[in-house]
Assembly symmetry: C2
Amino acid sequence: MSEASCPARLLSPIFKVLAEPNRLAILCALGTECRPVTDIIHATKLPQTNVSFHLRILREAGLVRAERRGSFVYYCLPDPELLAILQSFQAWARAHTPMLTLVEGDGNDNISPTKRRTRSCG
Amino acid sequence: MSEASCPARLLSPIFKVLAEPNRLAILCALGTECRPVTDIIHATKLPQTNVSFHLRILREAGLVRAERRGSFVYYCLPDPELLAILQSFQAWARAHTPMLTLVEGDGNDNISPTKRRTRSCG
DNA sequence: CGTCAATATGCGCAAAAATACATGTGTAAA
DNA sequence: TTTACACATGTATTTTTGCGCATATTGACG
């Protein structure tokens, strides 16, 4: 059980691509359809060069696919299941991380582990 | 469909935490059990300060929980479902990204979209 | 109380990554 | 072929982030 069954090296580059808010916004803007870059620019309100920059990273990671149609380049997800996975992940996040835009938490997320002795996990 | 249903702002910080290979390795080293930091250090072969550094980030993200037992601090996942989600993600990655440690791909992952006219998505 | 082991933190640095700006490329139409 | 539009790329700059080192804190023990 050294690292063969550990998804670290496999998932890390994908998570690194998905960690960028603008890239996630681009994926969401795409949804399940193919859309030209101009649409993405309008949907995300990002400058064109920035959108192209992120699209390249998404493309090289295999998270989007590009096809030219005339003078437009359409981008789409290679698999709609990716959106489903993202949403299930989102559901988990909603349930387990109170560190959102919520005004305040119970203060349990920023304690120093040196301070507690709860002992409920063992 | 502006950004309320878009998981960008919600998932981005979590992905950012998960994007670090050593942090994923720590999560994998934890598995479903609670283990003291020393165990994690041995399992990951990382220097102690580095492990503590990453553990803090994981803790503040709500991805691990810390409990002191005597002079040891045990870390564990707040929810075993996280591992399941990671594995489903891994399954998806295996199927959709040939950009792994594979010696070579079909060359379809680094093409410039300016070069192609496949037209199979419309 | 002094010491040791376990763990956390502050700081400086180096590497990486994101953004903006300028520019290049390709395609369609005049 | 010239112009205009859609998109990509290269470069410089700034910000972020991971790491190592030294050090501080905490608890067990004598």
